[in-house]
């Protein structure tokens, strides 16, 4: 053992160096950057200030955008959960020989880049897209499906569905089917078996799926940009816009505020659902 034991830190050294040099240091650098003076001629001016944070946290424009982002993320999380649960349940319990195919179908979006999937939605939802062409042929009024929240939410739900189905499936597979049978034998109908046995026991999966999707939705950038096309603003699109305007210190502050608020929401949620979990066990 001694040979390996002496060299074991060598195993951790590359990842340590890489994540430190190109993740930790850059993030610390953002923190420093967010405290710099803005400047119109260079990346930042001399001296330090907290103005960027004050602006990010008080200017109604940015506060509203932040709240919108959180609201959209919460909405996306709930819709994803509602759609994913039946699918996850079905996949976890089915003995159909199509199970493998269906499983592959659920995972398939992961193999297709975000841009391509967003592209597919554009073809469908655009003002002269496939759906509106069909509407016209049926002499129905044109629907505004894109360049609004509807399109963004729809496409993001699609993108994040696999991230919800997988943890849910894991949790449901972990529930002994005999528990359901036991509950039935004790006189619970299907609805109550679901509410009193399955739902509480799949809570850990629900929790991790929701946290994952919420965090991903808060950080989404490409889809809101392409499907919102300047009419749906999320904090990420605003942050990147600041970079394009060369307002780096403010962009950094805005990015940090988003991360912090996002983490806080997740923490609150974890605490609340943790209480529910404990209450049930």
């Amino acid at each position: 053992m001694s040979g390996i034991a002496r060299a074991k830190w060598l195993l951790a050294a590359p990842v340590g160096a890489m994540v430190f040099g190109f993740f930790m240091v850059p993030y610390l650098n953002i923190v420093v950057m967010s405290l710099r003076q803005p400047s119109t001629t260079q990346a930042y001016g001399p001296g330090f200030t907290t103005d960027n944070f004050v602006k990010a946290a008080t200017d109604p424009l940015y506060v509203v955008t932040l709240l919108d982002t959180l609201r959209l993320a919460a909405m996306i999380t709930l819709i994803t959960l509602a759609l994913a649960y039946p699918v996850a349940f079905h996949l976890a319990r089915t003995e159909s020989r199509w199970r493998g195919v269906l499983y592959g179908l659920v995972l398939s979006p992961l193999l297709v880049g975000v841009v391509i999937r967003t592209f597919g939605w554009i073809i469908l939802l655009a003002n002269n897209g496939l759906i509106n062409q069909a509407m016209r042929q049926l002499d129905l009024p044109r629907l505004q499906l894109m360049y609004n929240e509807f399109g963004v939410v729809l496409a993001l739900v699609h993108i994040f569905l696999p991230f919800m189905v997988l943890p849910l499936m894991g949790a449901i597979q972990g529930i002994d089917p005999r528990l359901e049978e036991a509950a039935r034998s004790l006189g619970a109908d299907k609805r109550r078996v679901f509410l009193r046995v399955l739902l509480p026991l799949s809570m850990p999966g629900i929790q991790s799926g929701c946290i994952l999707v919420f965090v991903l939705a808060c950080g989404a950038y490409v889809t809101p940009l392409l499907l919102g096309a300047g009419r749906v603003h999320t904090t990420t699109t605003v942050v990147v816009h600041q970079l394009e305007l060369f307002l780096w210190p403010f962009g950094a502050a805005l990015a940090l505020v988003l991360s912090l608020v996002g983490l806080m929401v997740v923490w609150l949620y974890a605490r609340l659902s943790g209480r529910v979990l404990r209450g049930q066990s």
């Binding site: 074991k8 195993l11 990346a43 699918v87 992961l110 193999l111 841009v115 950080g219 490409v222 970079l243």
Partner: protein
């Protein structure tokens, strides 16, 4: 009861259709003969594929994405595998902290990581002049996927197998080569697959770190889509989907046959 069952089945079916819909549409658009996709589609043509393969910017992006994907995969496997080994076999008191540290790039929004790297590169003076910056960004976001896969396969590997090899006279290094590595190979290859897909489809990192004249394929698509609609992008998308699918099939061939069977 029957009604419920029907509704439930209908909902599940609808979700599967929903999952496939945009991908199917892109594939359709790529084979459509006219510029604008009509409903119902009119005519079959490969002209957009021809346009794609003849387009210098697209081909350049495609090559860059491939090289970048392979390089990032190799690098993240070389870094992530030893990290997983350390975590599962040797990490002591700081185990969980180490895990969080390695997974951190997965836990924070990628676009923020990209911003952080962009600022950092400007501050140390390399800016977006070098493809190396882009490459490093890809490696940072790929490592967690390799780490997760290899960790999982190491957990399934009983330490007594390694001990048995040692008791039979194999050195630690020999034990790693002859016992550990062959047995975690499926995990390593799965991790590599993930890394390749993540790199090949990456937008957020590439968006901010791409340099002049070095635009990976998803970014090229992104730029085209931002300013208008061109079915060449659909053809490019389908080629890109085929690439990832190819990688999956390759992996299935590599580890799906023998190694998965024990």
């Amino acid at each position: 009861m029957k009604l419920w069952r029907g509704l439930f089945g209908g909902l599940i079916g609808a979700v599967y259709v929903f999952l496939m819909l945009p991908i199917a549409i892109v594939v359709m658009a790529s084979f459509n003969s006219t510029r604008a996709l009509r409903f119902p589609p009119e005519g079959f043509s490969l002209r957009w594929y021809v346009a794609f393969f003849e387009s210098e910017p697209f081909m350049e992006s495609f090559r860059l994405s491939l090289v970048l994907g392979v390089a990032a995969t190799v690098a993240s496997v070389l870094i992530g595998t030893p990290a997983a080994l350390y975590y599962v076999r040797f990490a002591g008191r700081w185990r969980e902290a180490f895990r969080l540290y390695v997974l951190a790039p997965l836990l924070l929004p990628e676009i923020l990581t990209a911003i952080a790297l962009l600022f950092f590169y400007y501050q140390i003076g390399i800016g977006t002049k070098s493809v190396a910056g882009l490459f490093i960004g890809h490696v940072v976001v790929c490592i967690p996927f390799v780490f997760l896969q290899v960790t999982a396969s190491l957990y399934n590997l009983s330490p007594s197998l390694e001990e048995a090899a040692r008791s039979l006279g194999a050195s630690p290094w020999m034990t790693f080569l002859r016992i550990t590595l062959p047995l975690i190979k499926p995990g390593v290859i799965n991790g590599a697959l993930f890394a390749f897909i993540i790199s090949f489809d990456n937008v957020s990192i590439s968006l901010l770190l791409k340099g002049i004249g070095s635009t990976p394929l998803p970014m090229q698509l992104f730029d085209y889509l931002r300013w208008g609609f061109d079915p060449t992008t659909a053809a490019a998308s389908v080629v890109s989907i085929l690439m990832t699918l190819g990688a999956v099939v390759l992996v299935d061939r590599l580890v799906g046959l023998r190694a998965m069977r024990f």
